[in-house]
Amino acid sequence: MTDRPWLRHYPAGVEPSIGEIAYRNLPALLSWSAEQHADQVAFRQVMPNGMNGALRYRDVERLSDDFALYLREVAGLGQGDRVAVQMPNCLSYPVVAFGVLKAGCVLVNTNPLYTPTEMIHQFSDSGAHALVIIDMFADRLDEVLPKTSIETVVTVRISEFLPKVVAGIIRATQKYFNRTLPDINVEHTTLRDALDAGGERRGKGSSVGTYLAAIGPDSLAALQYTGGTTGVSKGAMLSHGNLVANTLQMLAMCGAHIRRGEETVLTVLPLYHVFAFTVNLVGFYHMGAHNILIPSPRPPSNLKRAFENYPLTWITGVNTLFNALLNERWFVEHPPGELRASAAGGMALHQPVAERWREVTGTPIVEGYGLTESSPVLTFNPLGGMNKDGTIGIPVPSTQVRCVDEAGDEVPLGQPGELVASGPQIMQGYWQRPDETEETLRGGWLHTGDIAEMDEDGYFRIVDRKKDMVLVSGFNVYPNEIEETIAALPGVREVGVIGLPDAKTGESVRAYVVADEPAPSAAEVVAHCRKHLAAYKVPRSVAFLDELPKSPIGKILRKDLRNTVSVGAGHQPTDAAGEEKA
């Protein structure tokens, strides 16, 4: 076992392997949990003003059965047909997503904020037959549907499954005050009607069991689109086996820190994102948790009621979320008293944020790592074991991780190399893209495109994305390192670092800073970097912005920062951005 030095850092009770998997498919895992916790609340949707509604485990089980019956027997879908699901976090999401899986169909998670162009790409690339969409965005369908193979459209309301009066108020507000309910000009069924139709079939003796007989670990469960950071997005093929294994791997590593039937978890990240899908939706459901779904987490004050009204024990999120909460007075003054632990993923957890989080909440926060292509969890810092800030921790059970050079050979300990991984959670490939699949899955190893180093304990540290690396006078500069340094300067709220073409040095470093009061000057930022970094890593220019471009889950998008620079190249972006030359 010398090739897996991390195994000796597994906390007591965590086995090196998850062993034989008891569930043939995801619905088997879900139904088992629903039976165990039938009368407990599974999901609760909490609106910014505290209005809420809940579904118990038994409700979710029955409603998702009905939706599966609708898809197969009313909409006429077959096994393996793709169903696109496009909605924010709400009570309909688990009903629909679990229904799709129970029908033996393939879930295609779609960002509700997508433009028609992006929707057309994702729907036609996946060959989706049906679409379940939030009614607020369904006006785009006139333009989208003719260019796709979608035949069935089901619309859901954000107020679905909420108490009648509350639902009525929300609906009225949407319709008359916010005017966010457009006319829908395409033929569609409401979720309510679809569930009624499915329920009718159930009454006549139809059962989802028949659809699942043929669904095993190798059956495709989801097409999870990724690769948005460069080029066109492609569908990672995640099988039932991938998702079940990753759920169990993640839970195995958490051990007793997730107690069966006793946790209340805050789900701020959108469920269409793979992290929230596997960890929050499936993982915590498996453990019988009470899952608080937040439909719109921005601004962060939208979370205030959820924190006030429910005894949250777990929070998952990205660095941006934790940082944002730490900048909210109500949060810092009354941190959640029942909180036990938090998990960060999706992007690097900055050390100052991690430290402050522990200080404010008095509970651990651990960083993990994974990719859409790995369902997603590959590594994290073990709770109750040794935590190393600034690292992504150690691989979860049944997972092998290495750092390799261009030739695919393992690099010496402590040296940077591309992180590659293998295990039962690694995707089957990219949907209908054999070339890219071959390039990414080489010799059974997932090539992540991330540069990492492993230390003697088997802890991995991400140096940076291969493609974000900046080449200054021939030196490799990793934006993460500079961001981390600048983030530690008082008055810096958020920071993003990119490389710009430079006549003299090839590329030069530019930092974008979102400042708090009192704001540091550009010269102070540079002076701070000079103190902590080698000369070639010090930003050549510092620009101040009110906000950084972010992905739906709050990842800072360096490519958008780069685009801004090139878009703004025509005029003087420097004035508009309040830039000061350093």
Partner: protein
């Protein structure tokens, strides 16, 4: 109509059988105030109080503008515009105006703060804070300024004890709503929403029932009284905003402090008068400033909100919409 003519009419008063506020209106108005106070409480948790106590500086600014500036502003306006009028008429109007300046902030300010992109949390906190402090500060302000305003020989007394009791009673729904909210978040959120709506409904109610029935009173009311009602809100917002900017508060917080200070709880002032001066022969004069203020503040605050949106948003817009 000349000043003297209108004053003669004013002094004659309405016909003897005319009720300035009918019993139905009285019940409705007081009921509405209870609902508004319910809504206020439904938005609060004990944590909000703890937070406010822990970090009082923001609230202190609001407290100073709310109870330092507003009653003083009302006092100056009365001094300049109302007192020159004949004593018999001036006394009740002055009490009404002074009370209008001394009551806490209203929930309507939260709505305008929202539309002018201010700091909603700060607004709610300031409203609550000033509502609680009103128990002490409103009677105190009436004592301080009231004695200086009463013309020689006026037999009108400010029933400070009554006002105190009324304020205490009106805080009961706040506490009850807080308790309900802690038991059921959905009922709490609905009540909070209703409170905001009924705040606006109050104005509509005044417009459709009270104004048409009392048009005579409105016509004979001298222009000075209108001016007091309009200036109290307008100057209040402006002065508090300038102070907040002067001490370098963030523009969005300065907007909040401005609106919060200038927008008083009109319904509360009316309810206090109705409950503290039951059946008073000069009820119309007592109510005139609070009623006019309640009607005009919507207009004043709307204009100010538009100004804030234009002036300040331009100031805060430092970057391209791209980012």
């Amino acid at each position: 109509m000349s000043l003297t003519a209108s004053l003669v009419l004013a002094l004659e008063g309405p016909p003897p059988d005319h009720e300035v506020v009918t019993e139905f209106e009285q019940v409705m108005l007081v009921g509405l105030v209870f609902i508004i106070m319910f809504g206020l409480g439904a938005g609060l948790t004990p944590r909000d109080f703890a937070s406010a106590l822990r970090r009082p500086q923001g609230l202190i600014i609001g407290w100073v503008t709310q109870f330092g500036i507003m009653p003083f502003l009302a006092f100056l306006l009365v001094l300049a515009l109302v007192l020159p009028l004949p004593a018999e008429y001036a006394a009740p109007v002055a009490i009404g105006a002074l009370l209008m300046g001394s009551v806490p902030a209203g929930t309507t300010s939260n709505i305008f703060t929202f539309f002018s992109k201010g700091n909603l949390a700060l607004s709610v906190m300031m409203t609550t804070n000033s509502t609680l402090w009103a128990l002490v500060m409103t009677p105190l302000a009436l004592l301080i300024y009231g004695t200086r305003l009463m013309p020689e020989g006026a037999d009108l007394q400010i029933p400070v004890a009554n006002i105190l009791v009324t304020l205490a009673i009106l805080l009961v729904p706040v506490a009850v709503a807080m308790w309900i909210r802690s038991r059921n978040a959905n009922i709490g959120a609905v009540m909070e929403l209703m409170g905001g709506f009924f705040g606006l409904f109050f104005i509509v109610f005044l417009l459709v029932t009270w104004v048409p029935r009392n048009w005579r009173l409105l016509v004979i009311t001298p222009w000075q009284v209108y001016l007091v009602a309009v200036c109290l809100g307008l100057f209040g917002i402006t002065i508090a905003y300038l102070i907040a900017r002067g001490i370098k508060l963030h523009p969005s917080n300065a907007r909040t402090v401005g609106l919060e200070t200038g927008i008083q709880n009109g319904p509360l002032a009316i309810a206090i008068i109705l409950l503290s001066f039951p059946g008073h022969p000069q009820l119309g004069e007592l109510l005139i400033v609070p009623a006019l203020y309640s009607l005009f503040i919507v207009l004043v605050a709307t204009v100010v909100t538009f100004y804030f949106r234009r002036a300040n948003l331009a100031e805060e817009q430092k970057i391209d919409n791209l980012l």
